[in-house]
Symmetry: C2
Subunit: 144 residues, 2 copies
Amino acid sequence: MTLFDRPPVGMNLARTSKVVAQAFDAAMVEAGGTLPVWVTLLSVKSKELANQRELAGMIGIQGATLTHHLNGMEAQGLLTRRRDPENRRVHQVALTEAGEALFEKLRLAAVAFDKRLRAGIPDDRLAEFAEVLAALRANVAPAE
Amino acid sequence: MTLFDRPPVGMNLARTSKVVAQAFDAAMVEAGGTLPVWVTLLSVKSKELANQRELAGMIGIQGATLTHHLNGMEAQGLLTRRRDPENRRVHQVALTEAGEALFEKLRLAAVAFDKRLRAGIPDDRLAEFAEVLAALRANVAPAE
DNA sequence: ATCTAATCGTTAGATATCTAACTTTGTCTT
DNA sequence: AAGACAAAGTTAGATATCTAACGATTAGAT
C-alpha cells in the first residue's frame, strides 16, 4: 500500500522546524533564557525600531500569548508595563536593566546559533530556500 | 540599531512551519480530525506492529504525548490497545473500523493539502528545498 | 534463584500556545 | 452629544507538548 505519491513537503518542513526550534531553545537556555523569552524580548525591542510591523509578523504569536509571557517577565523584573497617557488603551512596555542585559546576551547567542545553522550552505541556496518558504506561506494564505 | 546582519534562517523557518501547520490542521478539522490525530493514525497505519515508543519516534513526539493522544482516540473508538501476550510490557495498537475510515478520509485531505502547498513550485526547486532542510537538521544535530 | 538493569508505558505537573469573550478606552456617524 | 463601532489588552478555558518520576515486566548476572 502506498500512502503518498511523494514525500509530503509539509511533513518535512514540520519535522525540520521542530528539531531546529528545540536546538535553538537549548541555546537560549544556555545563555540564561528560553525561546519564548527571546521572542518576547525581541518583540518589545523591535517596537523601538521602524519596522515593528514586519518583525511582529515575523515572530508570529498571538496577543494572548504575549500577555502570558509579559506577565512572567514582569514578575522576573525583566520589564515594566505602564499605560500610555496619550492613549490609555496602550501598554507601554520597557525593558529594565536586567531585561536589556538579557536581551543582549540572547541576541549574541541567537546570532551564533544562526551561524551554526547556516554552516556550509551557500548564500544563493539560502536565498532560494527563503523564496520557497515565502511561496509555501502564500499557498496556504487564507485569501487565495 | 541593527539587530541582525541578515534575516535569521531559523526565524523564517519557524514562522513558515507554523502557518503551514495551522493551515494543515484546519484542513484536517474540515475532514473530521486534527493534525495530531492524523499523525497518530499515520504512524499506527504505517507500522501496525510497532510499539508505542517506535510510533512516537516516527512522529517526532515523546512517549507521554503519544499516550495522551492514544487515550483520546481510544475513547473515541478509533483504536484499541491490548497487551502483547509475548511481552506484557508492550501495548499493541490497532485501528478499529472507524479508525480506518477516518484514516482514509484524512489521507485524502492530506494529499489535497500537499498539492495546494506545492502549487506553482517546480519539482527541482522542491528537491533543492528538501536538501536545504536536511542540511539544517544536520547542522543542529547533537553529535556534530 | 535472586538481585540488579533495562524497557515500556503511564501519570503528574509544568509550559506554551490558541481562540473566544470581555473590559477599557478611543473614534466615528449622525 | 449619543450610540455604534473599532482597538488594545487581559482573562478564561482548551489543547499539545515536554520532563521527571513511577509501576509493571522482562532480561541479565552471579
